[in-house]
Each structure stands twice: as C-alpha cells, then as structure tokens.
Symmetry: C2
Subunit: 337 residues, 2 copies
C-alpha cells in the first residue's frame, strides 16, 4: 500500500479511502490511485484489513455432512448469498458430533468470523449457545437449539410428517405404520415423530417406531426383524433422506415389493426419487430456500449488529409430493401444499 501511495504521490490514507469509498476524494487523485494500483497489481491484504477494522468479511458454516444432498444444497445456497454480500465462507463438517461442532465453532471464533450458520448436531448436547459465543451472531438452520436468542430457520417438520402419515391412513387404509428414524436426538427426527404420533393417535392407531437407522446394516436388521414378527407393518414412514435410502436398499435386498407388500413415504425429496421404481412419495422440504433465508437472516443481523433477547423463528412450508410408493397410481406426481 505504501508503494501505491508513493507511485500515486499521495498518502496511504488516501489509498485506503479510495478503496473503501469511506470519504470524499477528488476524482483526479482517485484516478491516480487507481492507475498506481493497476500498475503495481496491488491487492489489499484482507487479514490486515480485518485485524484493524474488526470486520473479517467472513462467515462460518457448520453442517453435519456434505454427502447428504440436503445439506449440500443448503451449503450451496449459503455460499451464493455470501458471494452476493462479498463475504467468504469457512465451511466445516461436524459429522453429527457435538464435540467436533463445538471445537469447529471455537476455531471459527478465533478466526473472527462475523457470524455463523449452524445445523446443530445433537439437540441436547449442542453447546453453540454458550457464553463464549455471546458476541457472535449465530443462526441455526434445519434444527434449532434451546436458546431463544438465536435466530432459527426450519421447516414444517411436524405438520408435514403428520399429513404424510394421514395420507397413508386415510387414502390407503394402513393401520400398522412403522416410523424409521435416523437418530433419537435429532430435533428434526423428533418433530417428525411427533407428527407421525399424532396422526396415528387421531386415528386410534398404535404408534410403532425405531430410531436407530443410522447405517445401512442396522436398518436392514431392524426391517428384517419387523417384517418377521407377527403383525408386521404394512407401511413405512422414513424420517429423512438417508433413512429412506437405507430402507429402500434393505427392501430391495429382501425382494419386498413396494408398495404392494409394504408402502413407503419418506421425509425429504431427492433428485432420483421420481425415477426409482416405484417413484417415491415424499415430503419435500425447500433446501435451497432454507439456506438462503438463513443466510439472509444472518447478514441482516450482522448489518444491524444487535443481540436481541429473542431471535426470529422462521418456519418454511413443506409439500407432500405424491408419487407411487404410497400406493397411489398417479402417472405423474401430485403436489399438495
């Protein structure tokens, strides 16, 4: 910067001002500065700038996995919004581990991110609202934490699940519907279970659930046991993307026909759901929008730089996309908002 100032025949402050537009500078001198910058190929050092101005122009993003297309899509959206604001994104994965999540959040703090977007891991053990984070803007997405001060964005987990299960009950007359969850301690899984439970209860049916479908093997085993038992379920409701995959694998492996022998409805749509055989009936959640809304919320917070006692809670709508795995015969998918 010194060199630029010298070449342009001005002080370093003027260069700084030209770059930031922070004060009035004569067009004349501004031009000289720009020429010098061009000539020297000067690029401001963002680290020094951040150190001095207390603005790193960086946000942090913590997601459980990147290979879950739902989270990947969220991350993509966040990145897009950040670019619009000229911010960089430090991205990291927690692998659903609260300790990793905490460590990564701390590391981001030390890097002085101006804010963080977090998909919290374990609902109870997540520590992202602890004291050390009090000075950093945090927005949770997909899953909230027990801290009213944080902004959060989520989808209609409970009502979406309820509607899907009602569809199985009312349209297809299922009475024994099994709920398959990925992990008992995930907020989303709990909410969806609650929706499932209510739908069952309102129809005077007995809920039946398992929460350990976090790997292909255990899922196969669980499904095996269930189908072998007496009064086996006639329909499955899978609580997320991965669980749906695992269940599908298991069913195919065992040669169980869907929906004839077992109907299936899943939470979270994905790319190939409409070319599977049968096509999959799912609750679709707006992944991109979730990321976009959360990121905008965060930038809003950063701009105002306030820490209200009560954060915003935004709930995005889901849709029931009816294809064929539920038992419907529709040639094309029907969307119910």
């Amino acid at each position: 910067m010194n060199d630029v100032a010298r070449v342009a025949g001005v002080g370093t402050m003027t260069v700084s001002r030209v770059l930031n537009g922070s004060a009035n500078v004569t067009e004349e001198t501004a031009k000289r500065v720009y020429r010098a910058i061009e000539k020297l190929g000067y690029r401001p050092n963002e680290m020094a700038r951040a150190l001095r101005s207390f603005k790193s122009r960086t946000i942090g993003l913590i997601v459980p996995y990147l290979f879950d297309p739902f989270f990947a899509t969220c991350a993509h959206a966040v990145n897009t919004v950040a670019r619009e604001h000229n911010y960089s994104v430090i991205l990291t994965t927690s692998n659903e581990d609260p300790v990793t999540e905490f460590n990564e959040a701390q590391s981001m703090l030390q890097r002085h991110v101006e804010g963080m977007l977090i998909i919290p891991a374990d609902i109870r053990k997540s520590r992202v609202s602890q004291a050390e984070f009090a000075g950093t803007h945090i927005v949770t997405l997909d899953r909230p934490v027990h801290d009213a001060r944080l902004d959060s964005v989520q989808v209609q987990n409970q009502s979406g699940a309820k509607r899907a299960v009602q569809h199985l009950i009312q349209q297809h007359d299922h009475k024994r519907i099994l709920f398959l969850g990925f992990n008992r301690n995930l907020y989303t899984v709990r909410s969806r279970f609650e929706g499932y439970r209510r739908a069952m209860q309102e129809s005077h049916l007995e809920p039946s659930a398992t929460f350990d479908c976090s790997s292909e093997e255990t899922t196969a085993e669980i499904i095996d046991n269930q189908l072998q038992g007496k009064n086996p379920p006639t329909a499955f409701f899978t609580a997320n993307n991965l669980t749906t995959r695992y269940s599908l694998h298991a069913l195919l492996e065992k040669g169980v026909r869907v929906p004839e022998e077992v109907a299936l409805v899943g939470f979270d749509d994905f790319e190939l759901a409409d070319i599977l055989h049968p096509t999959l009936t799912v609750v679709r959640q707006p992944a991109s929008e979730l990321g976009r809304v959360a990121a905008n919320l965060l930038f809003d917070r950063i701009k105002r730089d306030e820490f209200p006692e009560e954060g915003s809670r935004i709930v995005l709508p889901v849709e029931l996309v009816i294809r064929r795995s539920c038992g419907c015969k529709a040639r094309h998918s029907t969307v119910i908002a």
Copy 2:
C-alpha cells in the same frame, strides 16, 4: 494477550512462547501462563497471528457445484484432511464459470490462503495458473489445467470409459452407442469421449456423440431426436452423474425400457444406482480418495514450500461396476478393477 501476561506476571512474549512452544520456558512459568489463560478464557486471535507470521492456516477450495454428490463428497474429504492438519477451509462454488472461479481465487489470495484446491471449470478458459497465483500452492483435482507446474489428481477417465464401452460392444453386441456429454469444454468429458471413441474405432464402429446434455430439457430433446431418427442408438454411454440422471429421466418419461430397448452405462457411481430399476452399470470413481489425495498433496506442498517446475500428476484407478442396465443379468453387482 496483555491481560494474560499481566495476570501470569510475565511478559507477553512468554505467553506467545508457551502457546507456540517456540522456545524453552520453565515448567513453572508455563503453568502460571496456562492458569491465566484458563482464568481469562483467552483465545489467540488467529488473524493477528496470521498477519504477523504469514501463515493463515487456511486453504481455499473451489468446486463447480455442491449439489453434485461427486463434488460434495470430494469437498467432505478435503475438509476432513484439513481438520487433521488444523487448517480451516474457505469453500466456494464456481458454477462452472471461469470468471467466477478466477474472482473467487483472487479473493482467496487476498485472504492469504496458504494453498488452493481447485476443480477447474472450463478447460481452456481457466486462468488459475496466471502470474498472480505464482506464489500460492495450487492443486487441481478431477480436472487438470494446461500448466505442468501445478499438482493434479485425476481418475482414469479415458481407460475407464473405454472399458465400459467395450463391455457394451463385446458382451452385449451393441453397434450404435451414443455418447452423451455434459459440456464440450470439460476435461473429464473430453477424456471420456476419447476413451469411447477409441473403443468404437477399435471395433470399427461409427462414433456418435452429443455434448449438450447440461439440463434436463435439452437432454430430453436430444434423446427424443436420436430415438426418432433412422438407425437409432441401441445403447447410451453417459459421461457424468448429472447426464446420467437427465437421461434416465428422459427415458422413463418416454417409457423406453432399459436395457431392453436401450442399454445404458454411466460414468460416476452414486448412492442410488443400485436400487434403481434396472440397477445401473457404471464406472465408479473414488470421490473421497480424490479429495483426500489432493488435500494431502497440497499440505505436502505447503510444508515444503517449494514451487517445482513440474508438479505431480496422480491418476487414481476406476472400476467398472456391472449391474443390469447394460444388459447383464447378474443378481448382484460385479466389480471389475
């Protein structure tokens, strides 16, 4: 840091030394320092540290998209390796646009990343090897650029594609095989096409290719035209993940039976390939390993801090995973290395 020094009754330098282990400090004083750190909840400011030491402990990662599971998996692996080295990752997407890619790379430079991992967009327009990047370690993955100085990691694109097409020719006697590419200017697509071309040529068959399957609509249209024409293809070879998806959609939409009416083999395996109907025969590439190897290469470079005239070129093996869309009847998939 000043506060810590004061509380511990030492100079700031001693605190620094304790934190970095850069010189001998009495156990006694070290303990006092640790206690003070604990008491004050002190965390070193990584930005100041970076500014002073010229080491940001940060790398950059540029991928085209995050919603392509192949790239997402690479990104996940990169993240994991970076964590092992205590580095942060600034991640951004280029959307296959060389201009965006260049801008993002420059922005990373200004943030003084110690190195960059890039999946370059357009093979000819990519400018990541220009002069301004000469002082930064760059490793390209998946697709190399025309600059021998950069390390690069890729897979066996040509031979993998060739083998897959040979399978269609030799095992299933196809003579009119259509190559479906995502984008003419992608290195991977070109290499895979070359493999396809050779396989066809060696069997004295006429190559037939299209390179514009970058969206669902155009792909459907192209396939429509091809199947309507005289001498329609009896098999498809799709050059990547997304093209495979699009083609599958189009075929299903038109009610074309696979593999009876048209056989299909794709490059790049994905999660649901083995529960589609039919299960998909694909060339599987090691996505995680690609990311891991590239990241390790980069950290190696960073550690040695040299800029050799000739970078490493690593080529990872692929496998042909034979399922049923090619026409094979196997109950389970067969993997050919």
